[in-house]
């Protein structure tokens, strides 16, 4: 099973510089735990006691997971997960 997870520049220290890594799991939470088992410390940058960290955005097939159940969002083989920091609106 392979789910592609795209990692922003700031977190590539955890992935040895890799822009994207692969993982598995049935939910986003499981996927993140799976990644953390190979890239120690990654989970802590993404998740805190209240769930997904405030300034972290995660997209499942380009949709913000906060509207898909957050950490309980279902993921499956072939999905793409993108992690990005929250930024101010562009051309405002």
């Amino acid at each position: 099973m392979a789910i592609e997870v795209r990692i922003p520049t700031i977190l590539r220290t955890f992935t040895g510089g890799a822009k994207s890594v692969e993982g598995s799991g049935d939910t986003l939470d499981e996927l993140i735990a799976d990644l953390d088992s190979r890239h120690a410390g990654l989970r802590e940058r993404l998740v805190d006691d209240s769930g997904l960290r405030r300034f972290v955005n995660i997209y499942l097939n380009d949709e913000d997971v906060r509207f898909l159940g957050g950490l309980t969002a279902t993921v499956k083989d072939g999905d793409t997960v993108t992690v990005l920091p929250a930024v101010a609106g562009g051309m405002a």
Binding site: D62, D64, A92
Partner: protein, 315 residues
């Protein structure tokens, strides 16, 4: 239509169907053309409402200086309004925004403070907040947190859309300050049970996200995610492709953020079609393409255009 002066002509923009891009007669996209505003963008609404609110609150008098973090559209709107109302304007803007923006701002008489490209709008906001603290007599309207921004849409954009499209099922707009979605979204949700409020967010290149700690991110103070049904991230490649399709299929010359909202709108239409459901999807086209011509978005191959946008705040 006749107005006493330019500021009276804010809003009242047309809603135009997209019969060629819409997948079928049961799922229709409708574009609200916000370039038909005095300075050519949806921001005229927010800027006018924010200035009026500040005047009502006694914060502004002729000769006052307004300071604002803005990559352009809000600055341009404010520059025009400040010119007409007698205020000075200072815009804090990332240095990697298109040339036309600088030209327009200076033409209206505004001053510009450039913030470093790396760090994008986050940095502009930080710099502006610092300048505001150092210059307490300056007024920072602060579009990212000013309720008058969202209220402009609650009081104008939302009612206009509902009047033109009472059968609306979805509203899609870009997510920047979040004012458009919060204000229009709140209004439509109050009036239309089951309406979906969908955000289309540009996904930038790595330079824009910079190397800052993830704890130093930024979520606009206006943002309330309970107003949204879903939020899509749209790549430059998809946004560019759709922006060009708007021209070639519908004759609409829109800015690149329009490509974002159309891409999300088409995804929603496809979903509805697959489910056999009717959809009348209003998509907000924030501005026209004039300010983006120098980015090369409309010429050459898509791959070339995408490469040119790398590192830019393109929407």
């Amino acid at each position: 239509m006749r107005y006493d002066s330019l500021l009276d002509a804010v809003g009242g923009t047309p809603l135009v169907g997209l019969p060629h891009l819409s997948p079928g007669p049961g799922q229709r996209l409708w574009a609200k053309l916000e370039d038909r505003n005095p300075t050519g963008s949806v921001k005229d609404r927010a800027a006018l409402w924010m200035v009026r609110a500040a005047e009502r609150d006694g914060l502004l008098s002729p000769g006052c200086t307004i300071l604002e973090p803005t990559s352009g559209n809000t600055g341009i709107s404010l520059a025009m309004i400040c010119r007409l109302r007698g205020y000075k304007l200072i815009c804090v803007m990332p240095e990697n925004t298109s040339a036309e923006r600088t030209q327009l701002l200076q033409m209206y008489g505004a001053s510009i403070v450039y913030s470093p490209a790396a760090g994008g709008s986050n940095e502009a906001v930080r710099v502006a907040k610092r300048l505001a603290a150092e210059n307490p007599r300056w007024v920072m309207l602060y579009q990212y947190g000013n309720e008058a921004n969202a209220r402009a849409h609650y009081e104008s954009t939302g009612p206009e859309i509902l009047a033109d499209l009472p059968e609306i099922t979805h509203f899609v707009a870009g997510l920047g300050t979040t004012g458009t979605l919060m204000g229009t979204g709140r209004y439509l949700r109050e009036q239309v049970p089951g309406v979906q409020i969908v955000a289309a967010e540009p996904r930038y290149g790595e330079l824009v996200y910079g190397l800052r700690n993830m704890d130093e991110g930024f979520v606009p103070e206006l943002y309330d995610d309970t107003v949204l049904t879903s939020r899509f991230s749209v790549s430059a490649a998809d946004a560019l492709r759709r922006t060009r399709e708007l021209v070639s299929c519908e004759g609409i010359f829109a800015g690149i953020s329009a490509g974002c909202v159309v891409h999300a709108g088409l995804a929603l239409a496809a979903k509805a079609q697959a489910a056999g459901e009717r959809a009348d999807i209003a998509v907000l086209i924030a501005d026209a393409g004039w300010k983006y011509l120098s980015t090369g978005a409309y010429s050459g191959t898509l791959a070339e255009a995408e490469a040119r946008l790398e590192g830019e705040l393109w929407a």
